[in-house]
């Protein structure tokens, strides 16, 4: 019984380590070795305490009601032993943790800067070359990357499990993340600071690709060769899908199906037909006309959409019956 519990526990602990996501960078490998050290030390500590506990409980279980128990009040050497040894172990863990943390925070001068902007419920990325994309961004492999991040509304947090790094994104201030991906592939990005309804769908993808493919992606115009409606659909998927459905069903905001040319009742009692100007105004200045029964929670997209993205979006919404 005693052996089973302990091996189950140790087995589980060791097995847990294999569940860490893929190691996307050198720092990630260091974090994992630190994690292995912490796991092994903890497993030993658990075996000592829980094993000792079970052993003592079984060996000294009550045989008869008038068992005589030893009157041991304390033992200074033992007290010193099990306070000094944990202290030393904790200091090692602290030092190693500090070393790894410092490596996550040294922003080398020649790193490629990517600007990330978090807002209620999607991520926007901008490059110095003027290229911008939402929900997905490309970075070249084996180049130090520096993510400069801010938020437009509430606290968010940029979490790259593959790189073992995370940093809160604070409105009114810039925070940064540094990593050097050494393995190509697609890495999942999560928002890990609670930010409201769609906090769980505020996801993004980071694609680590070769230098050539990265430069080629940087040049290509995302909407080249796409029809206006297809451009609109791409923008919808990146920025609007989080709150609006393509059918008529309400999500956070109203569904788009059949919206075009329909009569819209507003909170202040007035009403209007939903033509192109109404749709354009609702995107750029959503607070102007709020449909009855909906919270005025939509942020403004002023200055975030290029002219053809905006007209593409309007065409896409018009196309939804």
């Amino acid at each position: 019984m005693f052996g089973l519990i302990i091996s189950l526990l140790v087995g589980k602990t060791i097995k847990a380590s294999t569940f860490m996501p893929v190691q996307g960078s050198q720092v990630a490998a260091q974090v994992d070795s630190l994690y292995m050290f912490l796991l092994v030390t903890s497993a030993i500590f658990c075996v000592l305490v829980i094993g000792g506990l079970i052993y003592f409980v079984l060996k000294y279980r009550r045989k008869s009601d008038d068992d005589k128990t030893a009157y041991i009040s304390h033992n200074n050497f033992l007290e010193f032993l099990w306070s000094f040894i944990p202290f030393v172990l904790f200091m090692i863990m602290f030092g190693w943790g500090w070393h790894v943390f410092h490596q996550m925070r040294d922003f080398s001068k020649d790193s490629l800067e990517v600007h990330a902007v978090g807002q209620k419920w999607f991520w926007d990325f901008k490059y110095k070359s003027g290229k911008s994309s939402a929900g997905e961004f490309y970075v070249p492999v084996n180049t130090p990357i520096k993510l400069i991040m801010t938020s437009k509304d509430v606290l968010h947090s940029f979490f790259l499990p593959g790189m073992r790094i995370k940093q809160d994104v604070i409105p009114g201030r810039y925070t940064a993340l540094a990593f050097t991906p050494n393995k190509e592939g697609t890495y999942q990005v999560f928002c890990t600071e609670y930010c409201g309804d769609q906090h769980s769908s505020m996801l993004a993808k980071m694609k680590v690709v070769s230098q050539e493919e990265y430069e080629q992606w940087l040049q290509e115009d995302a909407s080249a060769g796409l029809s206006l409606v297809e451009v609109g659909q791409k923008v919808y998927e990146q920025k609007c899908a989080v709150c609006h459905n393509t059918n008529a069903e309400r999500k956070v905001g109203p569904g788009f199906a059949g919206l075009y040319n329909s009569e819209r009742q507003f909170a202040d009692g007035s009403s209007a037909v939903a033509d192109e100007n109404y749709i354009r105004e609702s995107i750029l200045v959503p607070g102007a006309k709020v449909v009855n029964g909906y919270p005025p929670a939509m942020p403004s997209f002023q200055g975030q959409l290029s002219e053809d993205e905006l007209s593409g979006l309007i065409e896409f919404i018009k196309s939804l019956k």
Binding site: E113, H115, K126, K128, I148, T150, Y174, T175, A176
Partner: protein, 106 residues
């Protein structure tokens, strides 16, 4: 621990109030524009004002509240509560004043 009901003598009370009023005068004078201008730095003026206030606070606590004649545990309670307020300021200040500013380079 001094037991029993201790009566704070009248003389002590009068001396305390006189000292307090004088100190209030001093702190007001110390904050006059002509004086602050000569001292110059804003931080030192704040420090002087807090020091004078602390002396006044000591007088009120020791004589009006009778801490001088009371058991030391009461003084310990006062000091520890002020200590933890300073602790909150200290660690928050360590964070706020050692943040490396990050700027956007767009």
């Amino acid at each position: 621990m001094s037991h029993g009901h201790h009566i704070i003598p009248m003389k002590v009370l009068i001396k305390t109030i006189v000292a307090l009023v004088i100190l209030t005068g001093v702190t007001v004078v110390a904050a006059l524009d002509v004086v602050t201008a000569t001292i110059g730095s804003h931080a030192i003026n704040t420090l002087i004002a807090i020091l004078i206030a602390s002396v006044k606070a000591y007088l009120v606590a020791a004589y009006f509240m009778g801490l001088k004649y009371d058991s030391r545990t009461h003084t310990l309670v006062l000091i520890s509560s002020v200590g933890f307020v300073i602790l909150l300021y200290l660690f928050s200040a360590i964070d706020i004043f050692s943040r490396t500013p990050i700027e956007s380079t767009l």
